[in-house]
Symmetry: C2
Subunit: 305 residues, 2 copies
Protein backbone atom coordinates (compact mmCIF):
# COMPACT_ATOMS: atom_id res chain seq x y z
CA UNK A 1 0.00 0.00 0.00
CA UNK A 2 1.36 3.39 -0.93
CA UNK A 3 2.49 5.37 2.11
CA UNK A 4 4.71 8.35 1.41
CA UNK A 5 5.28 11.92 2.53
CA UNK A 6 6.10 14.96 0.38
CA UNK A 7 7.67 18.02 1.97
CA UNK A 8 5.89 21.28 1.06
CA UNK A 9 7.70 23.55 3.52
CA UNK A 10 10.80 23.12 5.68
CA UNK A 11 11.44 26.53 7.21
CA UNK A 12 10.69 27.58 10.76
CA UNK A 13 9.17 30.86 11.92
CA UNK A 14 9.81 32.98 8.82
CA UNK A 15 10.06 32.04 5.15
CA UNK A 16 13.38 32.60 3.44
CA UNK A 17 14.05 32.97 -0.25
CA UNK A 18 13.92 29.28 -1.16
CA UNK A 19 12.17 27.76 1.85
CA UNK A 20 8.52 28.01 2.90
CA UNK A 21 7.38 27.37 6.47
CA UNK A 22 5.98 24.01 7.46
CA UNK A 23 3.60 21.81 5.50
CA UNK A 24 3.71 18.18 4.40
CA UNK A 25 1.35 15.94 2.52
CA UNK A 26 0.99 12.21 3.09
CA UNK A 27 -0.25 9.92 0.35
CA UNK A 28 -1.71 6.84 2.01
CA UNK A 29 -3.35 4.44 -0.41
CA UNK A 30 -3.98 7.32 -2.83
CA UNK A 31 -5.71 9.48 -0.22
CA UNK A 32 -3.97 12.73 0.72
CA UNK A 33 -3.53 13.89 4.32
CA UNK A 34 -2.14 17.38 4.89
CA UNK A 35 -0.03 18.03 7.99
CA UNK A 36 0.30 21.69 8.91
CA UNK A 37 -0.45 24.42 6.43
CA UNK A 38 1.82 27.45 6.64
CA UNK A 39 1.41 30.57 4.53
CA UNK A 40 2.08 29.69 0.90
CA UNK A 41 1.13 26.02 1.19
CA UNK A 42 -1.43 26.26 -1.59
CA UNK A 43 1.20 27.84 -3.83
CA UNK A 44 3.56 24.96 -2.96
CA UNK A 45 0.79 22.51 -3.82
CA UNK A 46 0.46 24.11 -7.24
CA UNK A 47 4.23 23.92 -7.66
CA UNK A 48 4.43 20.24 -6.77
CA UNK A 49 1.13 19.22 -8.39
CA UNK A 50 -0.67 18.23 -5.19
CA UNK A 51 -4.41 18.36 -5.85
CA UNK A 52 -6.34 20.09 -3.05
CA UNK A 53 -9.50 18.23 -4.12
CA UNK A 54 -7.87 14.97 -3.04
CA UNK A 55 -7.31 16.16 0.54
CA UNK A 56 -10.05 15.14 2.98
CA UNK A 57 -8.04 15.35 6.21
CA UNK A 58 -5.93 18.22 7.55
CA UNK A 59 -3.90 18.04 10.76
CA UNK A 60 -2.64 21.21 12.46
CA UNK A 61 0.00 20.72 15.15
CA UNK A 62 -0.31 24.10 16.90
CA UNK A 63 -1.29 27.72 16.46
CA UNK A 64 2.01 29.39 15.67
CA UNK A 65 1.60 31.11 12.35
CA UNK A 66 4.33 29.16 10.57
CA UNK A 67 2.13 26.05 10.93
CA UNK A 68 -1.35 27.26 9.97
CA UNK A 69 -1.44 30.68 8.26
CA UNK A 70 -2.06 29.12 4.83
CA UNK A 71 -5.15 27.28 6.00
CA UNK A 72 -7.84 29.95 5.48
CA UNK A 73 -6.54 30.56 1.95
CA UNK A 74 -6.63 26.86 1.16
CA UNK A 75 -10.14 26.46 2.61
CA UNK A 76 -11.26 29.44 0.56
CA UNK A 77 -9.74 28.08 -2.65
CA UNK A 78 -11.40 24.70 -2.06
CA UNK A 79 -14.70 26.59 -1.74
CA UNK A 80 -14.12 28.66 -4.88
CA UNK A 81 -13.10 25.55 -6.80
CA UNK A 82 -16.46 23.93 -6.08
CA UNK A 83 -15.70 21.54 -3.23
CA UNK A 84 -18.83 19.94 -1.76
CA UNK A 85 -17.50 16.98 0.23
CA UNK A 86 -16.71 17.37 3.93
CA UNK A 87 -13.24 18.21 5.17
CA UNK A 88 -12.00 16.76 8.47
CA UNK A 89 -9.85 19.18 10.42
CA UNK A 90 -7.81 17.96 13.40
CA UNK A 91 -6.53 20.96 15.35
CA UNK A 92 -6.38 22.88 18.60
CA UNK A 93 -9.87 24.17 19.43
CA UNK A 94 -9.18 27.92 19.01
CA UNK A 95 -8.50 27.40 15.31
CA UNK A 96 -12.26 27.16 14.80
CA UNK A 97 -12.68 30.71 16.13
CA UNK A 98 -9.78 31.95 13.97
CA UNK A 99 -11.35 30.45 10.84
CA UNK A 100 -14.88 31.54 11.63
CA UNK A 101 -14.04 35.17 12.34
CA UNK A 102 -12.39 35.40 8.92
CA UNK A 103 -15.26 33.71 7.11
CA UNK A 104 -17.65 36.06 8.90
CA UNK A 105 -15.98 39.27 7.80
CA UNK A 106 -15.41 38.08 4.25
CA UNK A 107 -19.13 37.12 4.24
CA UNK A 108 -18.21 33.63 3.05
CA UNK A 109 -20.39 30.59 3.64
CA UNK A 110 -18.36 27.57 2.59
CA UNK A 111 -20.15 25.22 0.21
CA UNK A 112 -18.75 22.22 2.09
CA UNK A 113 -18.80 21.27 5.77
CA UNK A 114 -15.72 21.34 7.99
CA UNK A 115 -15.82 18.60 10.61
CA UNK A 116 -13.63 19.66 13.52
CA UNK A 117 -11.80 17.22 15.77
CA UNK A 118 -10.04 19.08 18.55
CA UNK A 119 -6.66 17.87 19.72
CA UNK A 120 -5.33 17.99 23.26
CA UNK A 121 -1.68 18.23 24.22
CA UNK A 122 -2.41 16.58 27.60
CA UNK A 123 -2.13 12.93 26.58
CA UNK A 124 -1.97 10.81 23.42
CA UNK A 125 -5.32 10.09 21.78
CA UNK A 126 -6.46 8.21 18.71
CA UNK A 127 -8.05 10.86 16.52
CA UNK A 128 -8.60 8.91 13.30
CA UNK A 129 -9.03 5.26 12.52
CA UNK A 130 -10.01 4.13 9.04
CA UNK A 131 -9.38 1.11 6.82
CA UNK A 132 -5.87 2.30 5.97
CA UNK A 133 -4.47 4.01 9.05
CA UNK A 134 -4.72 4.89 12.66
CA UNK A 135 -3.62 8.35 13.76
CA UNK A 136 -2.61 9.33 17.29
CA UNK A 137 -1.67 12.71 18.67
CA UNK A 138 1.82 12.98 20.16
CA UNK A 139 1.80 15.52 23.00
CA UNK A 140 4.90 17.69 22.62
CA UNK A 141 6.53 20.31 24.81
CA UNK A 142 6.40 23.67 23.06
CA UNK A 143 5.57 27.21 24.14
CA UNK A 144 1.86 26.77 23.36
CA UNK A 145 -0.22 23.54 23.23
CA UNK A 146 1.28 21.40 20.48
CA UNK A 147 0.85 17.87 19.25
CA UNK A 148 2.70 15.81 16.71
CA UNK A 149 0.92 13.04 14.84
CA UNK A 150 1.71 9.34 14.62
CA UNK A 151 0.36 7.63 11.49
CA UNK A 152 0.29 3.83 11.76
CA UNK A 153 -0.62 1.71 8.79
CA UNK A 154 -3.22 -0.97 9.42
CA UNK A 155 -2.05 -4.57 9.25
CA UNK A 156 -3.04 -5.83 5.81
CA UNK A 157 -4.75 -9.15 5.02
CA UNK A 158 -2.63 -12.25 4.40
CA UNK A 159 -1.37 -12.61 0.83
CA UNK A 160 -2.77 -15.50 -1.18
CA UNK A 161 -0.19 -17.65 -3.02
CA UNK A 162 -1.69 -17.58 -6.48
CA UNK A 163 -0.14 -20.85 -7.72
CA UNK A 164 -1.53 -22.83 -4.76
CA UNK A 165 -5.13 -21.61 -5.06
CA UNK A 166 -5.03 -22.22 -8.81
CA UNK A 167 -3.58 -25.71 -8.36
CA UNK A 168 -6.35 -26.55 -5.85
CA UNK A 169 -9.00 -24.78 -7.95
CA UNK A 170 -10.31 -22.94 -4.87
CA UNK A 171 -13.43 -20.95 -5.79
CA UNK A 172 -13.14 -17.17 -5.50
CA UNK A 173 -15.81 -16.80 -2.74
CA UNK A 174 -13.40 -18.52 -0.29
CA UNK A 175 -10.61 -15.97 -0.85
CA UNK A 176 -11.89 -13.44 1.66
CA UNK A 177 -11.85 -15.92 4.55
CA UNK A 178 -8.44 -17.32 3.50
CA UNK A 179 -6.95 -13.80 3.45
CA UNK A 180 -8.22 -13.39 7.00
CA UNK A 181 -6.41 -16.60 8.08
CA UNK A 182 -8.89 -19.49 7.55
CA UNK A 183 -7.84 -22.92 6.39
CA UNK A 184 -9.52 -24.44 3.30
CA UNK A 185 -11.41 -27.71 3.19
CA UNK A 186 -11.44 -29.21 -0.29
CA UNK A 187 -14.58 -31.03 -1.60
CA UNK A 188 -12.80 -34.35 -0.88
CA UNK A 189 -12.43 -33.38 2.79
CA UNK A 190 -8.71 -32.59 2.72
CA UNK A 191 -7.79 -29.65 4.94
CA UNK A 192 -5.22 -27.20 3.57
CA UNK A 193 -3.65 -25.10 6.30
CA UNK A 194 -3.76 -21.35 5.82
CA UNK A 195 0.04 -21.23 6.06
CA UNK A 196 0.20 -23.40 2.89
CA UNK A 197 -2.11 -21.03 1.02
CA UNK A 198 -0.85 -17.61 2.11
CA UNK A 199 2.19 -15.60 3.11
CA UNK A 200 2.46 -12.99 5.84
CA UNK A 201 1.42 -9.48 4.87
CA UNK A 202 4.02 -6.74 5.10
CA UNK A 203 4.67 -5.38 8.56
CA UNK A 204 2.64 -2.20 9.04
CA UNK A 205 4.71 0.94 8.58
CA UNK A 206 4.52 4.10 10.63
CA UNK A 207 5.29 7.80 10.32
CA UNK A 208 5.83 10.11 13.28
CA UNK A 209 5.65 13.88 12.83
CA UNK A 210 7.34 15.72 15.72
CA UNK A 211 7.31 19.50 15.36
CA UNK A 212 7.76 21.78 17.33
CA UNK A 213 9.20 20.60 20.61
CA UNK A 214 11.78 20.90 23.30
CA UNK A 215 13.96 17.81 23.30
CA UNK A 216 12.49 15.75 26.13
CA UNK A 217 12.17 12.00 26.33
CA UNK A 218 8.48 12.23 27.17
CA UNK A 219 7.19 11.18 23.78
CA UNK A 220 9.84 8.55 23.04
CA UNK A 221 7.82 5.58 24.32
CA UNK A 222 5.02 6.45 21.95
CA UNK A 223 7.20 6.68 18.85
CA UNK A 224 9.27 3.52 19.29
CA UNK A 225 10.48 1.88 16.08
CA UNK A 226 8.83 4.18 13.60
CA UNK A 227 9.55 3.46 9.96
CA UNK A 228 10.10 7.15 9.33
CA UNK A 229 10.58 9.77 12.00
CA UNK A 230 10.24 13.42 11.02
CA UNK A 231 11.75 15.52 13.77
CA UNK A 232 12.25 19.23 13.90
CA UNK A 233 15.87 20.38 14.05
CA UNK A 234 15.57 24.14 14.19
CA UNK A 235 19.13 24.86 15.33
CA UNK A 236 22.67 23.46 15.34
CA UNK A 237 23.71 22.14 18.75
CA UNK A 238 25.97 25.14 19.37
CA UNK A 239 22.70 27.04 19.83
CA UNK A 240 21.35 24.68 22.47
CA UNK A 241 20.54 27.52 24.84
CA UNK A 242 18.45 29.23 22.22
CA UNK A 243 16.76 25.91 21.40
CA UNK A 244 15.86 25.38 25.05
CA UNK A 245 14.68 28.94 25.46
CA UNK A 246 12.36 28.73 22.42
CA UNK A 247 11.35 25.10 23.06
CA UNK A 248 12.99 23.71 19.97
CA UNK A 249 15.37 20.85 19.16
CA UNK A 250 18.89 20.84 17.74
CA UNK A 251 20.02 18.65 14.85
CA UNK A 252 22.15 16.61 17.24
CA UNK A 253 19.18 16.01 19.52
CA UNK A 254 17.00 15.02 16.57
CA UNK A 255 19.61 12.38 15.75
CA UNK A 256 19.49 11.21 19.37
CA UNK A 257 15.70 10.99 19.29
CA UNK A 258 15.91 8.72 16.22
CA UNK A 259 18.62 6.60 17.83
CA UNK A 260 16.88 6.23 21.18
CA UNK A 261 13.49 5.37 19.68
CA UNK A 262 14.92 2.91 17.16
CA UNK A 263 13.60 4.71 14.09
CA UNK A 264 14.41 3.13 10.74
CA UNK A 265 15.01 6.50 9.16
CA UNK A 266 15.07 10.17 10.21
CA UNK A 267 14.07 13.27 8.26
CA UNK A 268 14.95 16.62 9.84
CA UNK A 269 13.23 19.92 9.07
CA UNK A 270 11.86 23.22 10.46
CA UNK A 271 15.19 24.90 9.86
CA UNK A 272 15.93 28.34 11.26
CA UNK A 273 16.15 31.08 8.65
CA UNK A 274 19.72 31.73 9.84
CA UNK A 275 20.91 28.63 7.93
CA UNK A 276 21.21 29.55 4.27
CA UNK A 277 22.54 26.08 3.47
CA UNK A 278 21.60 22.95 5.35
CA UNK A 279 24.52 20.58 5.05
CA UNK A 280 25.94 21.28 8.50
CA UNK A 281 22.57 20.46 10.09
CA UNK A 282 22.47 17.20 8.14
CA UNK A 283 26.04 16.26 9.11
CA UNK A 284 25.35 16.98 12.77
CA UNK A 285 22.28 14.73 12.86
CA UNK A 286 24.09 12.02 10.88
CA UNK A 287 26.96 12.04 13.40
CA UNK A 288 24.43 10.43 15.78
CA UNK A 289 22.04 8.72 13.37
CA UNK A 290 23.53 8.04 9.93
CA UNK A 291 20.26 7.25 8.14
CA UNK A 292 19.12 10.87 8.13
CA UNK A 293 17.89 13.05 5.29
CA UNK A 294 16.90 16.69 4.96
CA UNK A 295 13.30 17.81 4.47
CA UNK A 296 13.83 19.38 1.06
CA UNK A 297 10.78 21.01 -0.53
CA UNK A 298 9.24 18.84 -3.21
CA UNK A 299 11.08 15.72 -2.03
CA UNK A 300 8.98 12.60 -1.45
CA UNK A 301 10.02 9.99 1.13
CA UNK A 302 8.56 6.55 0.44
CA UNK A 303 7.53 4.72 3.62
CA UNK A 304 5.98 1.77 1.83
CA UNK A 305 5.37 1.05 -1.85
Amino acid sequence: MKFEVTILGSSSATPIFNRNPTAQVLNINEKLYLIDCAEGTQQQMLRFDVKAARIDHIFISHLHGDHYLGLVGLLSSMHLNGRKKPLKLFCPEPLKEIIEVQLKYSETTLHYPIEYFFTSADKPAVILDNQDINVETIPLDHRIPTTGFLFKQKRRLRKIIKERVEELEIPTPYFSAIKKGSDYEAPNGTIYKNSYLTTDPEEPKSYAYCSDTLYTGKYFDQIQSTSLLYHEATFMHDMLDRANQTHHTTALQAGEAALKTGAEKLVIGHFSARYKTLNELLEEAKSIFPNTELAIEGKTFVISE
Copy 2:
Protein backbone atom coordinates in the same frame (compact mmCIF):
# COMPACT_ATOMS: atom_id res chain seq x y z
CA MET B 1 10.89 62.63 -6.22
CA LYS B 2 10.75 58.90 -6.67
CA PHE B 3 7.19 57.63 -6.98
CA GLU B 4 6.80 54.13 -8.33
CA VAL B 5 4.76 50.98 -7.81
CA THR B 6 5.96 47.37 -7.95
CA ILE B 7 3.46 44.57 -8.49
CA LEU B 8 3.80 41.71 -5.98
CA GLY B 9 0.62 39.84 -6.88
CA SER B 10 -1.81 40.07 -9.77
CA SER B 11 -4.20 37.16 -9.33
CA SER B 12 -7.76 37.34 -8.05
CA ALA B 13 -9.43 34.97 -5.60
CA THR B 14 -7.07 31.98 -5.88
CA PRO B 15 -3.37 31.80 -6.69
CA ILE B 16 -2.36 30.01 -9.86
CA PHE B 17 0.98 28.50 -10.71
CA ASN B 18 2.77 31.71 -11.65
CA ARG B 19 0.52 34.37 -10.14
CA ASN B 20 0.00 35.31 -6.50
CA PRO B 21 -3.08 37.16 -5.28
CA THR B 22 -3.02 40.89 -4.78
CA ALA B 23 -0.26 42.99 -3.27
CA GLN B 24 1.68 46.03 -4.45
CA VAL B 25 4.40 48.17 -2.95
CA LEU B 26 4.81 51.88 -3.58
CA ASN B 27 8.19 53.56 -3.23
CA ILE B 28 7.56 57.25 -2.55
CA ASN B 29 10.70 59.21 -1.84
CA GLU B 30 12.44 56.01 -0.64
CA LYS B 31 9.68 55.15 1.81
CA LEU B 32 7.71 51.95 1.12
CA TYR B 33 3.91 51.76 1.31
CA LEU B 34 2.30 48.33 0.99
CA ILE B 35 -1.14 48.06 -0.60
CA ASP B 36 -2.98 44.82 0.16
CA CYS B 37 -1.15 41.78 1.42
CA ALA B 38 -2.43 38.48 0.08
CA GLU B 39 -1.10 35.10 1.14
CA GLY B 40 2.50 34.74 -0.02
CA THR B 41 3.23 38.47 -0.10
CA GLN B 42 6.24 38.13 2.19
CA GLN B 43 7.61 35.38 -0.08
CA GLN B 44 7.12 37.73 -3.06
CA MET B 45 8.94 40.46 -1.15
CA LEU B 46 11.90 38.11 -0.67
CA ARG B 47 11.76 37.27 -4.36
CA PHE B 48 11.78 40.88 -5.49
CA ASP B 49 14.07 42.19 -2.74
CA VAL B 50 11.52 44.43 -1.04
CA LYS B 51 12.70 45.01 2.53
CA ALA B 52 9.89 44.65 5.08
CA ALA B 53 11.83 46.83 7.52
CA ARG B 54 11.35 49.79 5.15
CA ILE B 55 7.55 49.52 5.24
CA ASP B 56 5.87 51.79 7.79
CA HIS B 57 2.42 51.99 6.19
CA ILE B 58 0.13 49.19 5.06
CA PHE B 59 -3.21 49.74 3.33
CA ILE B 60 -5.80 46.94 3.13
CA SER B 61 -8.66 47.51 0.70
CA HIS B 62 -11.11 44.92 2.05
CA LEU B 63 -11.41 41.67 3.94
CA HIS B 64 -11.57 39.11 1.17
CA GLY B 65 -8.74 36.68 1.78
CA ASP B 66 -7.00 37.35 -1.52
CA HIS B 67 -6.24 40.86 -0.25
CA TYR B 68 -5.09 40.33 3.34
CA LEU B 69 -4.27 36.69 4.22
CA GLY B 70 -0.53 37.34 4.12
CA LEU B 71 -0.71 40.13 6.67
CA VAL B 72 -0.45 38.17 9.93
CA GLY B 73 2.57 36.30 8.57
CA LEU B 74 4.24 39.56 7.57
CA LEU B 75 3.48 41.20 10.95
CA SER B 76 4.89 38.12 12.66
CA SER B 77 8.08 38.15 10.55
CA MET B 78 8.57 41.86 11.28
CA HIS B 79 8.32 40.99 14.98
CA LEU B 80 10.74 38.05 14.74
CA ASN B 81 13.18 40.17 12.76
CA GLY B 82 13.38 42.70 15.59
CA ARG B 83 11.11 45.52 14.46
CA LYS B 84 10.59 48.16 17.12
CA LYS B 85 9.20 51.14 15.21
CA PRO B 86 5.43 51.62 14.87
CA LEU B 87 3.51 50.32 11.88
CA LYS B 88 0.53 52.26 10.56
CA LEU B 89 -2.27 50.02 9.32
CA PHE B 90 -5.13 51.49 7.28
CA CYS B 91 -7.92 48.92 7.03
CA PRO B 92 -11.54 47.99 7.68
CA GLU B 93 -12.11 47.86 11.44
CA PRO B 94 -12.72 44.09 11.78
CA LEU B 95 -9.16 43.39 10.67
CA LYS B 96 -8.05 44.39 14.17
CA GLU B 97 -10.10 41.55 15.64
CA ILE B 98 -8.78 39.10 13.04
CA ILE B 99 -5.18 40.02 13.86
CA GLU B 100 -5.68 40.08 17.62
CA VAL B 101 -7.36 36.70 17.86
CA GLN B 102 -4.40 35.15 16.05
CA LEU B 103 -1.82 36.91 18.20
CA LYS B 104 -3.74 35.80 21.29
CA TYR B 105 -3.70 32.10 20.47
CA SER B 106 -0.10 32.12 19.32
CA GLU B 107 0.70 33.91 22.61
CA THR B 108 2.55 36.59 20.68
CA THR B 109 3.07 40.11 21.98
CA LEU B 110 4.48 42.14 19.13
CA HIS B 111 7.61 44.11 19.99
CA TYR B 112 6.33 47.06 18.00
CA PRO B 113 3.04 48.98 18.08
CA ILE B 114 0.43 48.78 15.35
CA GLU B 115 -1.40 52.06 14.88
CA TYR B 116 -4.77 51.33 13.33
CA PHE B 117 -6.61 53.78 11.08
CA PHE B 118 -10.01 52.39 10.15
CA THR B 119 -11.34 53.03 6.68
CA SER B 120 -14.95 53.56 5.73
CA ALA B 121 -16.50 52.72 2.38
CA ASP B 122 -19.21 55.36 2.90
CA LYS B 123 -17.38 58.39 1.57
CA PRO B 124 -13.87 59.47 0.57
CA ALA B 125 -11.62 60.49 3.44
CA VAL B 126 -8.04 61.67 3.76
CA ILE B 127 -6.34 58.99 5.83
CA LEU B 128 -2.71 60.07 5.57
CA ASP B 129 -1.00 63.36 4.93
CA ASN B 130 2.76 63.68 5.27
CA GLN B 131 5.51 65.72 3.63
CA ASP B 132 5.50 63.54 0.53
CA ILE B 133 1.93 62.47 -0.08
CA ASN B 134 -1.71 62.70 0.70
CA VAL B 135 -3.78 59.51 0.68
CA GLU B 136 -7.54 59.33 0.28
CA THR B 137 -9.83 56.33 0.41
CA ILE B 138 -11.85 55.65 -2.73
CA PRO B 139 -15.19 54.05 -1.79
CA LEU B 140 -15.83 51.19 -4.20
CA ASP B 141 -18.80 48.97 -4.87
CA HIS B 142 -17.92 45.40 -3.98
CA ARG B 143 -19.69 42.59 -2.12
CA ILE B 144 -18.27 43.69 1.25
CA PRO B 145 -17.06 47.15 2.35
CA THR B 146 -14.13 48.03 0.09
CA THR B 147 -12.03 51.09 -0.56
CA GLY B 148 -9.38 51.84 -3.10
CA PHE B 149 -6.65 54.35 -2.31
CA LEU B 150 -5.64 57.55 -4.08
CA PHE B 151 -2.04 58.61 -3.52
CA LYS B 152 -1.36 62.24 -4.45
CA GLN B 153 2.14 63.59 -4.44
CA LYS B 154 2.60 66.90 -2.61
CA ARG B 155 3.47 69.91 -4.75
CA ARG B 156 7.21 70.37 -4.50
CA LEU B 157 9.04 73.67 -3.90
CA ARG B 158 10.04 75.86 -6.85
CA LYS B 159 13.32 74.93 -8.53
CA ILE B 160 16.17 77.39 -8.18
CA ILE B 161 18.01 78.25 -11.42
CA LYS B 162 21.58 77.56 -10.32
CA GLU B 163 23.27 79.90 -12.83
CA ARG B 164 21.16 82.91 -11.74
CA VAL B 165 21.76 82.55 -8.01
CA GLU B 166 25.49 82.05 -8.63
CA GLU B 167 25.66 85.08 -10.92
CA LEU B 168 23.91 87.19 -8.26
CA GLU B 169 25.95 85.64 -5.45
CA ILE B 170 22.78 85.09 -3.41
CA PRO B 171 23.69 83.74 0.02
CA THR B 172 22.43 80.22 0.83
CA PRO B 173 20.15 81.27 3.75
CA TYR B 174 17.83 82.98 1.21
CA PHE B 175 17.29 79.78 -0.80
CA SER B 176 14.50 78.43 1.38
CA ALA B 177 12.34 81.55 0.94
CA ILE B 178 13.09 81.71 -2.79
CA LYS B 179 12.05 78.08 -3.26
CA LYS B 180 8.75 79.00 -1.58
CA GLY B 181 8.21 81.87 -4.07
CA SER B 182 9.84 84.95 -2.55
CA ASP B 183 11.59 87.59 -4.63
CA TYR B 184 15.20 88.54 -3.76
CA GLU B 185 16.41 92.01 -2.86
CA ALA B 186 20.11 92.47 -3.60
CA PRO B 187 22.35 94.55 -1.23
CA ASN B 188 22.16 97.39 -3.78
CA GLY B 189 18.35 97.45 -3.51
CA THR B 190 17.59 95.75 -6.82
CA ILE B 191 14.59 93.42 -6.68
CA TYR B 192 14.88 90.18 -8.59
CA LYS B 193 11.51 88.59 -9.24
CA ASN B 194 11.07 84.99 -8.16
CA SER B 195 10.17 84.05 -11.74
CA TYR B 196 13.70 85.14 -12.79
CA LEU B 197 15.29 82.97 -10.12
CA THR B 198 13.22 79.79 -10.26
CA THR B 199 11.26 77.47 -12.51
CA ASP B 200 7.99 75.73 -11.78
CA PRO B 201 8.25 72.44 -9.90
CA GLU B 202 6.97 69.30 -11.59
CA GLU B 203 3.23 68.86 -11.50
CA PRO B 204 2.34 66.52 -8.60
CA LYS B 205 1.71 62.98 -9.76
CA SER B 206 -0.99 60.64 -8.53
CA TYR B 207 -1.69 56.94 -8.30
CA ALA B 208 -5.18 55.46 -7.93
CA TYR B 209 -5.64 51.89 -6.76
CA CYS B 210 -9.10 50.55 -7.65
CA SER B 211 -9.67 46.95 -6.61
CA ASP B 212 -12.19 45.27 -6.26
CA THR B 213 -15.26 46.91 -7.70
CA LEU B 214 -18.30 46.73 -9.85
CA TYR B 215 -17.87 49.09 -12.79
CA THR B 216 -19.85 52.13 -11.71
CA GLY B 217 -19.11 55.75 -12.41
CA LYS B 218 -19.42 56.67 -8.74
CA TYR B 219 -15.70 57.01 -8.07
CA PHE B 220 -14.78 58.64 -11.40
CA ASP B 221 -14.94 62.23 -10.16
CA GLN B 222 -12.46 61.44 -7.44
CA ILE B 223 -9.89 59.85 -9.72
CA GLN B 224 -9.86 62.44 -12.53
CA SER B 225 -6.56 62.78 -14.42
CA THR B 226 -4.50 60.33 -12.40
CA SER B 227 -0.95 59.84 -13.59
CA LEU B 228 -1.33 56.10 -13.17
CA LEU B 229 -4.61 54.29 -12.69
CA TYR B 230 -4.48 50.71 -11.45
CA HIS B 231 -7.86 49.15 -12.09
CA GLU B 232 -8.96 45.61 -11.55
CA ALA B 233 -9.93 43.70 -14.70
CA THR B 234 -10.93 40.30 -13.37
CA PHE B 235 -12.75 39.12 -16.51
CA MET B 236 -12.98 39.55 -20.27
CA HIS B 237 -16.06 41.46 -21.34
CA ASP B 238 -17.74 38.28 -22.65
CA MET B 239 -18.12 37.43 -18.95
CA LEU B 240 -19.88 40.69 -18.09
CA ASP B 241 -22.73 38.88 -16.34
CA ARG B 242 -20.30 37.08 -14.07
CA ALA B 243 -18.45 40.35 -13.43
CA ASN B 244 -21.68 42.06 -12.42
CA GLN B 245 -22.77 39.16 -10.27
CA THR B 246 -19.46 39.07 -8.36
CA HIS B 247 -19.03 42.88 -8.33
CA HIS B 248 -15.98 42.92 -10.54
CA THR B 249 -14.87 44.78 -13.66
CA THR B 250 -14.05 43.56 -17.17
CA ALA B 251 -10.91 44.53 -19.07
CA LEU B 252 -13.04 46.57 -21.48
CA GLN B 253 -14.63 48.47 -18.60
CA ALA B 254 -11.22 49.10 -17.03
CA GLY B 255 -10.20 50.71 -20.33
CA GLU B 256 -13.36 52.83 -20.22
CA ALA B 257 -12.64 53.91 -16.65
CA ALA B 258 -9.20 55.13 -17.72
CA LEU B 259 -10.64 56.91 -20.78
CA LYS B 260 -13.50 58.59 -18.92
CA THR B 261 -11.34 59.80 -16.04
CA GLY B 262 -8.54 61.05 -18.29
CA ALA B 263 -5.84 58.84 -16.79
CA GLU B 264 -2.37 59.20 -18.29
CA LYS B 265 -1.75 55.49 -18.07
CA LEU B 266 -3.68 52.36 -17.04
CA VAL B 267 -2.39 49.17 -15.40
CA ILE B 268 -4.85 46.27 -15.19
CA GLY B 269 -4.67 43.40 -12.72
CA HIS B 270 -6.58 41.04 -10.39
CA PHE B 271 -6.92 38.50 -13.17
CA SER B 272 -9.21 35.52 -12.83
CA ALA B 273 -7.40 32.19 -12.50
CA ARG B 274 -9.23 31.05 -15.64
CA TYR B 275 -6.85 33.14 -17.80
CA LYS B 276 -3.61 31.20 -18.15
CA THR B 277 -2.20 33.90 -20.41
CA LEU B 278 -3.11 37.55 -20.23
CA ASN B 279 -2.68 38.96 -23.70
CA GLU B 280 -6.36 38.91 -24.58
CA LEU B 281 -7.18 40.93 -21.43
CA LEU B 282 -4.53 43.46 -22.39
CA GLU B 283 -5.76 43.74 -25.97
CA GLU B 284 -9.35 44.23 -24.82
CA ALA B 285 -8.40 47.09 -22.47
CA LYS B 286 -6.13 48.64 -25.13
CA SER B 287 -8.97 48.63 -27.65
CA ILE B 288 -10.49 51.37 -25.47
CA PHE B 289 -7.41 52.88 -23.85
CA PRO B 290 -4.17 52.23 -25.75
CA ASN B 291 -1.76 53.25 -22.99
CA THR B 292 -2.47 50.16 -20.91
CA GLU B 293 -0.09 47.64 -19.37
CA LEU B 294 -0.50 44.39 -17.46
CA ALA B 295 0.24 44.09 -13.74
CA ILE B 296 3.05 41.56 -14.10
CA GLU B 297 4.64 40.37 -10.88
CA GLY B 298 7.98 41.99 -10.21
CA LYS B 299 7.32 44.78 -12.72
CA THR B 300 7.84 48.36 -11.51
CA PHE B 301 5.86 51.24 -13.01
CA VAL B 302 7.57 54.61 -12.61
CA ILE B 303 5.12 57.42 -11.86
CA SER B 304 7.79 60.06 -11.33
CA GLU B 305 11.58 59.86 -11.24
